[in-house]
Amino acid sequence: MNDDRTLERAARSWVEEGPTRAPERAVEAALSRIQTTAQERDLVPWRLPTMPRTARWVASLAAIAVVVAIGLYALRSPSTVAPPGPSPSPSLAPSVAPDTSRAFTSTMHGYQLGYPATWAVTPATALWPVGAEAPSAPSDQLDVFIGPAAGQTFVVVSQPLGSTTSDAWLAAYEQSAPQMPPACWPAPSDMEKTTISGQPAWVHGGIPSCGFTEAIVFAGGRVYEVTGYNQPNGVFNRALFDAIAATIVLKPASALDVPPPSVSDAACRLLQAAEVDAASPGYEGLGAIPGPGGTGAVTTCVYTSGGGDIQARLTLTNPGGPAAFEVAKAQAGVQTISDLGVPAVFNPNTLTLSILKGDAMVAIVPSFLATNTEQRIAMASAMARLIVTRL
């Protein structure tokens, strides 16, 4: 045993023991992932923050070449080529509305949407941690929707903002792909603006040199990235992108990385202090304090202003919202508020706007400093529109 030849023979004999066939499931899983994975010569800039540096340069130079070529062609034929517009997203207008009939709820990332019935979905099995760069495909952090056409993919992922703000997040996002031409990766102020689930969203990409169309949207302290891509180097059907985006309901409180609410802070998680500030122009406050009486299904949150004044008060009743709403609605003098998309009444005596969604009712008392009923309803309604998306 002591000589090297014997040792080598023993070691070789031992190392040869063990499995010699790859499990079929592993091979099939890899091939399945490859079906939705681009080779690195492809432009997949929606994941550029994690692409190798050389790949970024290749992608950037290719995109620049396309832009230059288009520009030269435009200069040569000014009468036949339209000048580039601020929103270079070609729409492939279909003759019928895109199918979004199949529902998907992401328990990992906290949202739901509708997608085409012929598509396959692979839910995320891992979180996108706060502060981490966007995951590269393939990644178990992505909810992936794969269309029947080769390379047609739609992905959604979200992460908590943590200690950063949406503005700071967007600024970092802009800086994450410095080599990309502005046409694909413009400053947030130059991105197309739209709305997803009632929240402002920023859209970019959508031209062949980008290979992707992506929307960024914030809700409830989270950022969501919604991306469609069509490889190689194609344009994701914008009508389908918009149709799917229109079905998205953001539910940030239901994301897996959100700790279950304690009894007392459930109401406080409906709105951030900054959002209450924004809804109460001129009456900015200091922050949210969970209400002391929050037990059982009823919890409160008090947003305070300077000197101990109350900036806003929320009372969440969940479950039991419908019964509570019936009580609120039956009070004398209440006004029906019809532009919130959910049942809502305002009680001018208690200065309370009550809204109902599902099993939850939220009673919103805006700043008492507001000078008239109209102003109070406007403030409470602004908060209600945010809350509705989170119930």
């Binding site: 045993m1 002591n2 040792l7 070691a11 040869e16 023991e17 790859a22 010569r41």
Partner: protein
């Protein structure tokens, strides 16, 4: 390895790559298992290596080097897997009882047990050199080239690995070891 298949896959032909995958996956999985000593980790490393190989295939300059190239990707996937899970040192794998080498003393269960324990004390880099050289059969110079390390480093890692395994077998051979294997 079929050079034409590699060329087709380089140009983005997924079906050609699938054929390649079926040709190499058994060998890659065998290597991954022997480095990681864990079937689950080996499956993950194999999957990640195959997907990464697909992504990077257009950058492979010489299709004739495909086999060595994909082994390099696999070894790095094993590195990643061992760092990601941090559980490979303590994972337990049940190996088949059938002995490859017959009934000589080197294939006794006690020897194998000690070799297994000793091997788990090697770094992942040392394991890779050992497996590529003694299991796959790559010459040490080629192992070094494949891993992107100097030949001296590869030699050093192999020397250390063999020393650790020698010590393990020496312990087996000593009567005093019986108490340790209770």
């Amino acid at each position: 390895m079929d050079r034409d298949l590699v060329e087709q896959a380089r140009r983005g032909d997924r079906e050609a790559f699938a054929v390649l995958v079926h040709q190499v996956s058994d060998a890659l999985y065998s290597v991954a298992f022997r480095i990681l000593r864990d079937t689950g980790l080996a499956e993950d490393a194999l999957q990640n290596a195959l997907v990464l190989a697909w992504r990077r295939l257009p950058k492979l300059r010489d299709p004739d080097r495909f086999e060595a190239w994909i082994h390099r990707i696999l070894v790095h996937a094993c590195y990643d897997e061992s760092q990601r899970t941090r559980s490979w040192r303590t994972s337990v794998t049940v190996l088949p009882i059938e002995l490859a080498g017959g009934s000589d003393e080197t294939s006794s269960i006690a020897d194998r047990d000690e070799l297994e324990r000793a091997f788990r004390h090697l770094t992942i880099e040392q394991r890779a050199v050992f497996v590529l050289h003694h299991y796959v059969g790559f010459p040490l110079v080629e192992v070094a080239e494949l891993l992107g390390i100097p030949a001296g480093t590869a030699r050093s890692r192999l020397h250390y690995a063999m020393a650790v395994l020698r010590d393990a077998l020496t312990v087996v051979a000593e009567p005093a070891r019986e108490g340790r294997l209770a």
